[in-house]
Symmetry: C2
């Protein structure tokens, strides 16, 4: 092993990149996202945004793009492009929103639904493979902590950003 392990003797007031949480988070997320993205791309020619749209439509039924934006944490533009791709592939269908002419309601077509049914087990298998070797309560804790971090980041984005270096 090359050098000082990640374990104990790290002083709190020093910055070690390997121990820096935002770095660790980003690296782990990139690794996982890359894996998943490649899987969807290779097997089904779906981008991650497209996959997410399919997911929420499968869960919640017909939604407008605005609702999808609110539901997933994606940009307006990203959702728009994902929807277009899915439309041309006839995986989702669009119907005019009755009360609002600007908006449309998106819903899975039969093909979209069966594609979802086909991918979902694979997605779950990936998740299972990733967390294999973790205790269930560890996974639950992980999810809770991630949610906390996300909330804290959102909080800090709004505030006058500099958390005073009160070290």
């Amino acid at each position: 092993m090359s050098a000082e392990a990640t374990g104990a003797g790290t002083r709190d007031d020093e910055l070690k990149l390997d121990a820096y949480l935002p770095y660790r988070l980003s690296v782990a997320s990139n690794a996982v996202s890359g894996l998943i993205a490649r899987a969807y791309q290779d097997r089904f020619a779906l981008t991650v945004p497209q996959w997410r749209v399919i997911c929420v439509l499968a869960e919640d039924g017909g939604l407008t793009q605005g609702q999808i934006v609110a539901r997933t944490v994606m940009d307006k533009v990203t959702v728009s492009r994902a929807a277009q791709g899915l439309l041309t592939r006839r995986l989702v269908a669009r119907s005019d929103h009755q009360a609002d002419g600007r908006s449309h309601v998106l819903a899975l077509t039969k093909e979209g639904a069966s594609l979802h049914a086909e991918i979902a087990p694979l997605a779950l298998a990936y998740e299972a493979a990733l967390i294999s070797g973790l205790a269930p309560e560890e996974v639950a804790l992980l999810k809770r902590l991630l949610a906390r971090l996300q909330a804290a980041a959102g909080q800090l984005s709004g505030d006058a950003p500099p958390p005073s270096p009160t070290v």
Copy 2:
């Protein structure tokens, strides 16, 4: 609260996006990365790759780009571009590698080092703000779990990717 919480009644064989770990991970990471990236950008006109390069140079002294690539998890090209930006701003200096004419050794200049000294406390303050409200052992566990996920993802990338949907 809107609907079924993340807590109990989710069946394992169903795919709920909100409970899907890769999704949660990606969303949390994006939130945190965005926060950090904006901070560095606004205050110091540094990109995240540039900041990472500064960090490892501050930790480990003179390194070649190849070593930086190995140390951080970044692409060759990303490191190259980050280094160029830092060079033109005179935050790092380049000296020819004695034993290998293709390679150069990068090291922080005095300005680079003082910039690092200036940013590091802020970076740590951000981390502290993010994990405030978490118990120290929770944070430690989080880091361990992230490392595990990263390792598992790397593992799966190499293998014949499809974890059989053995659900």
